[in-house]
């Protein structure tokens, strides 16, 4: 049985966000195990996420539930830890800490299985925010539009040497080689991704390397760098080191696009408990942290906030995941996994929708583009 005080407290908080228990509206939740109330209050974000995975509660529309909760600032009201709710599930899968563990961490998450990712991510296999602002109607088109946007921001020309650090399954690398005739070097510490890139890049000037950014010791200078969804894995103590390394291998008149998820506030040191259980080593950068990191190394040419594009991308991934789930191996991807994955995708969608979390594309250059940089949207 739930502590009746806790139950009352949770219900009061939910009322502030216009959420009813066992209601019928999109944002309402259904409590199937009364122990939820105690667990939510005593364990904060971890309790909420794990109890969802355990099937103790559901929502008519989970993203709508979190949309209401975030807009009413319930996160701050329930617990300081709730702000990391979206990472509960992701955090249990990914260890973002760099160094020796990076290969293992990457394998944990990105090597879960291409059987999961291929139907979810679509033909581009891009696992970062797509670009819907040019009118894309499908996920594949939104991801292609994102590739094109990045290429245009970089001002790619035939024969340019381009680095794609943290390249995932290499979709952007292939696009830059195929459409723009660039020579692309890309790296990722995930073996399955390297195998996938090798298989899919035949005949293209794409050179995949199994490496973290820290282990990558190449000395070749690149004309352009497309750092897409990489900064989230770098860790706040390494932002400057990472950017300094990128500057080192970028030509003096080169351009770098830094595409990253961002947070509204700087979190310099996270709570050790959160660090251990929730989102190890993975702190989203703030504007301030990035600006501090690139000062004296890069000049800011453009800062584009695409946050709501991630809401749409996450919903599209969720739809694909839901549709493909019946065909997946359920020994590997059981019900608990399904609920975990659902929780991850939809909570994040709500975070971007309510502007609690940002998605940035930042253009930087070493000395300022001569004649001025022209923004692309």
């Amino acid at each position: 049985m739930a502590d009746s005080t806790n139950k009352t407290t949770v219900k009061k908080l939910l009322t502030l966000a216009d959420i009813k228990v066992n209601g019928k509206r999109a944002q309402d939740i259904i409590i199937t195990d009364e122990r939820f109330y105690d667990r939510a209050l005593s364990h904060g974000s971890l309790g909420i996420g794990e109890s969802y995975m355990d099937g103790w509660w559901s929502a008519n529309k989970l993203d709508r539930f979190f949309e209401n909760a975030f807009q009413a600032d319930l996160r701050d009201k329930v617990s300081k830890n709730w702000r990391l709710a979206a990472y509960v599930v992701r955090g249990s899968l990914i260890n973002f800490q760099m160094g020796k563990r990076a290969y293992k961490n990457a394998q944990k998450h990105y090597d879960i299985g291409n059987d999961l990712y291929e139907p979810m991510l679509g033909k581009t296999m891009a696992y970062t925010c797509g670009y819907w602002d040019r009118g894309a109607k499908t996920l594949d088109k939104a991801q292609e539009d994102k590739f094109e946007l990045v290429c245009q921001k970089l001002g790619l020309k035939k024969g340019m040497k381009v680095l794609d650090p943290g390249c995932g399954w290499g979709g952007l690398s292939r696009y830059m080689a195929q459409k723009y005739g660039c020579e692309v070097t890309c790296f990722t510490p995930a073996k399955e991704q390297i195998a996938y890139i090798k298989q899919h890049s035949k005949g293209l000037k794409v050179k995949p390397i199994l490496s973290t950014w820290q282990d990558y010791k190449g000395k070749t200078k690149f004309d352009r760098i497309a750092s897409i969804g990489m900064m989230e894995h770098v860790g706040p103590k390494n932002y400057e080191k990472y950017l300094r390394r990128m500057a080192e291998i970028l030509t003096d008149d080169g351009i770098m696009v830094l595409h990253t998820i961002g947070g509204n506030k700087s979190i310099r040191r996270i709570d050790p408990w959160i660090d251990k259980y929730i989102f190890p080593g993975g702190v989203l950068p703030s504007v301030k942290q990035l600006a501090s990191a690139f000062e004296g190394i890069f000049i800011l040419e453009d800062w584009h906030n695409l946050s709501t594009n991630y809401d749409k991308t996450l919903l599209a991934w969720y739809e694909n995941f839901k549709e493909s789930y019946p065909k997946l191996n359920h020994d590997k991807y059981d019900t608990r996994f399904y609920r975990m994955w659902e929780f991850y995708l939809l909570t994040c969608a709500a975070l971007f929708r309510t502007r609690q979390t940002q998605l940035w594309q930042i253009v930087i250059s070493k000395k300022g583009v001569t004649g001025g940089y022209k923004s692309v949207r």
Copy 2:
């Protein structure tokens, strides 16, 4: 006679920047008083600026001279103070320190005389960077394009209440009232500017107030704030205070455009000597300083770097100034003033051209625009 060691040193430094003494190319300089060498080395930026005003040296094209000098990093090589060379002249006119002196400072610079500014700035009387990237061929058109750009970034609609802090001669305020039907409140601590606005805004919903931002105690909430060329007068210790005050009088779903000159590096405390003689209280903000100031108060929606537009604007002001000079009162604007003004405009042009100094338009909102902010260029 110049110290021969100093003369040799200066000539060597100039050679690094491909500048010849008494040469015939655009960047070459003509030394008419040999004492220049000693003064440049012993007094750095102040010596260089003052000796120019005294007619000890000239350049075939002063902006081209500084373009070469800045690109070769001569500033760092001659003296750490040279980086402020552009402010030598401006600094002697303007005391950017706020507080009790603000009215006096504003009068000093902005009340020099509309007889000087009207022909220089053109019909818009805008004393900030124009926008040439939409193809403007004249200064007036570039300034109108800037007004329009700001209005579009703000997403103005009829009847909106708009604040224009540090409004100068009110060109933007009139534009917003006239073209968009907004109710505009604007303030400046310069009396001549207030008189000018009153005279030119008849029949428009423009309310000019003689005030600094610190003295402005209004409680009305505004839908939009256009802070154009204001941050440069705020001072680094007050960035956060200024932004907090703006947030206080901006509606929760409001949008603010922050248009400001910026520096590549954070200068938290400037040298007391520089502070006293060169650029009192006036430190250009860096990305890091602004990001630190708005964190927790505003969410970054867009950051646009328009630096090279200022090069063109300054050159246009210089041409206007040169053309109108013969008609000006030469008792008030003597030869020393002419050379001072020339030095100010052309050195700044070179600073923007070589990307040593930036011009930013930053869009910020209090909670993030629902549905996402769409950038305008």
